[in-house]
């Protein structure tokens, strides 16, 4: 590379062009949020540069989204995601700690079962599970929306990788001081685990923020709609005016985008552990 400046220019231009191609739909979504649907379609045929920039800037789509109760759906999504992250982290970290630190017979078998059972994607068993949930009287409850997000194999895996990297001497020293396993988990391991906890928290958050099939299976009450379900409903109902649909989609997308941009390096670190040997 250093020896070939022309090659470097070609590679850079390629990288820029591809990145912009990926970015264009996002820009179009944002531009369409701040203009009327009529203007959105007028700018696409014939296509002009205006397609990526609103000419008549308006907040009418956002107002329409707010008036139609989209904020309730957004609030539901935030609540479900927040509870999932907090409770899910506790459950995953405890499991990961047992699987990485506490020596007991059959540990590797238990680890295999945990990872294998969570590797089968949730959607594959969502439909029969929703029938059980309705038998248990959980239909149209927040618990039904939260529960499936709590068990996450990737979160357990990420945290276990991190725990394995913490020197054993620390837990041995704590043992000699008379600390029990819970204390070692809480006071020795967790404080050292912040980056992995953030990475695992992101994994749990994204799962719930994306949820679409499960919410439509277990809720019929519109006041419990999560944001993705609400935008799909607006999309189906307003096939002539897409303005509100764009606004709702933009709001739905902005939140995880900001979270991911801010915490990208933790996501990358947790992702890195999936390919590692141990």
């Amino acid at each position: 590379m250093r020896r070939n400046p022309l090659g470097r220019v070609v590679l850079t231009v390629t990288a820029v062009a591809i990145s912009l191609a990926f970015l264009v739909p996002v820009l179009w979504l944002l531009a369409s949020t701040f203009r009327t649907a009529t203007e959105t379609f007028a700018s696409s045929s014939p296509l002009s540069w205006d397609v990526l920039w609103p000419k008549d800037f308006t907040l009418v789509n956002l107002e329409s989204a707010v008036d139609s109760g989209f904020l309730t759906a957004l609030g539901n999504s935030l609540l479900v995601a927040a509870v999932t992250v907090v409770v899910g982290l506790g459950i995953s970290a405890a499991a990961a700690f047992a699987l990485a630190v506490i020596p007991f017979r059959g540990r590797s078998v238990v680890f295999t079962i945990v990872v294998l059972s969570f590797l089968v994607p949730f959607e594959a068993i969502a439909i029969p599970l929703s029938r059980s949930f309705s038998e248990w009287g959980l239909t149209n409850t927040l618990i039904a929306l939260i529960l499936p997000g709590l068990g996450n194999g990737l979160a357990v895996f990420t945290l276990r990788q991190f725990f394995l990297g913490i020197p054993h001497s620390l837990s041995e020293a704590a043992h000699l001081d008379g600390a029990n396993w819970f204390r070692i988990f809480w006071s020795v391991y967790l404080p050292l685990t912040r980056p992995a906890l953030i990475g695992a928290g992101l994994i749990l958050f994204l799962f719930q923020w994306q949820a679409y099939l499960w919410p439509i299976l277990v809720t019929s009450n519109a006041s419990l709609d999560l944001a993705p379900v609400a935008i799909a409903k607006s999309f189906g109902a307003f096939s002539t005016d897409y303005g509100r649909v764009f606004a709702e989609t933009a709001i739905l997308a902005v939140i995880p985008a900001v979270v991911l941009l801010a915490l990208q390096r933790y996501f990358v670190t947790s992702v890195a552990s999936t390919g590692s040997k141990e």
Partner: protein
């Protein structure tokens, strides 16, 4: 020290060892209990009930309890053309979309681990679509690929005719591939970049000293060293695309002409809109078997060292 006291001491430490072992098992059980409960409730119960449901049948809409019919539902399903259509379309979609996404993700990962200016920014921009929830990106592309949408407007600039995209039986799979790839490529690229960064630089040094060119280095150093992340990404991508649901349900409803009637959507559609939960359960068992097989193969290929103690 006399012999008897040595013996008692040994027995004592054995007792102590047993006590520690027992204490560890109890602690591990407590730490794992919530996860085990979740596995039972969220994974084992629905799997068992899917298998049980698939052996029963009844008249559609009837209130009478369904009867046990053994493998009859499967026999009927295996002779139904619509089932094989769903299987075929699911496979066609997956055979194209997964290798395509992973190849492009790999190419981009290699490109963006080169020493080029602003590579962090380019990575972020390509990763950004993965942050948009699937229902949202489905709607964005559903509108962008409308006959009067901006994509056709773009084609028009080059004098190309407008395409029907999601509304055409011949283009619906391609349209879904574009949508899935816009999200998937950047997401899996991040995993591969992490894998590339894990390759010790000394291997590249060695290749350079041996006078290997860029291509030779890629095939003899990069690819073999990237085996594990590549395999993980390929399997995870495949498993995810096998259960792709939101775009089909929101945009195509399995059509046109059943071309996007993938297994996952067909199961949903049969259960809730055609009230044929019996064949839906049988199809679900087929889907589950495929999923479990893919995951098991991955586990096997990644080797037993993943389950190792330390």
């Amino acid at each position: 020290m006399t012999a008897p006291s040595l013996l008692t001491q040994a027995a004592g430490s054995r007792r102590k060892g047993a006590r520690i072992t027992r204490r560890n098992v109890v602690a591990a059980a407590l730490f794992l209990a919530p996860t085990v409960v979740l596995i039972v409730v969220l994974r084992i119960v629905p799997t068992v009930s899917a298998v049980a449901d698939s052996t029963r049948s009844g008249l559609p809409g009837s209130l009478a309890a369904p009867e046990f019919v053994g493998v009859d539902v499967f026999t009927k399903m295996f002779s139904s053309a619509s089932f094989w259509n769903s299987v075929t379309q699911t496979l066609v979609f997956n055979v194209i979309v997964n290798p395509l996404q992973i190849l492009l993700a790999l190419a981009l990962a290699v490109l963006l681990t080169r020493n080029i200016p602003g590579r962090g920014l380019w990575r972020t921009l390509i990763f950004l679509p993965a942050a948009v929830p699937l229902a949202g990106s489905t709607i964005v592309w559903g509108i962008a690929l409308r006959p009067d949408g901006p994509v056709n407007g773009f084609l028009e600039l080059f004098g190309l005719p407008a395409q029907p995209w999601f509304t055409s039986p011949d283009q619906v799979i391609m349209s879904l591939i574009i949508l899935a790839s816009w999200i998937g490529i950047g997401y899996w690229m991040m995993f591969l970049i992490a894998g590339l960064n894990d390759i010790p630089p000394v291997y590249y040094e060695a290749a350079r000293i041996d006078g290997a060119g860029a291509l030779r280095t890629f095939f003899s150093v990069t690819l073999p060293m990237l085996r594990r992340p590549l395999l993980f990404v390929l399997v995870a991508d495949t498993v995810a695309n096998f259960v792709l649901f939101a775009p089909v349900q929101i945009l195509t409803g399995g059509g046109p002409e059943g071309r996007s009637n993938f297994l996952m959507y067909d199961i949903f559609h049969r259960s809730y809109e055609l009230s044929d939960p019996y064949q839906a359960s049988a199809e679900l068992v087929v889907l589950l078997v495929i999923m479990i097989a893919i995951v098991a193969v991955q586990f096997k290929l990644l080797g037993s060292d993943d389950t190792g103690e330390e």
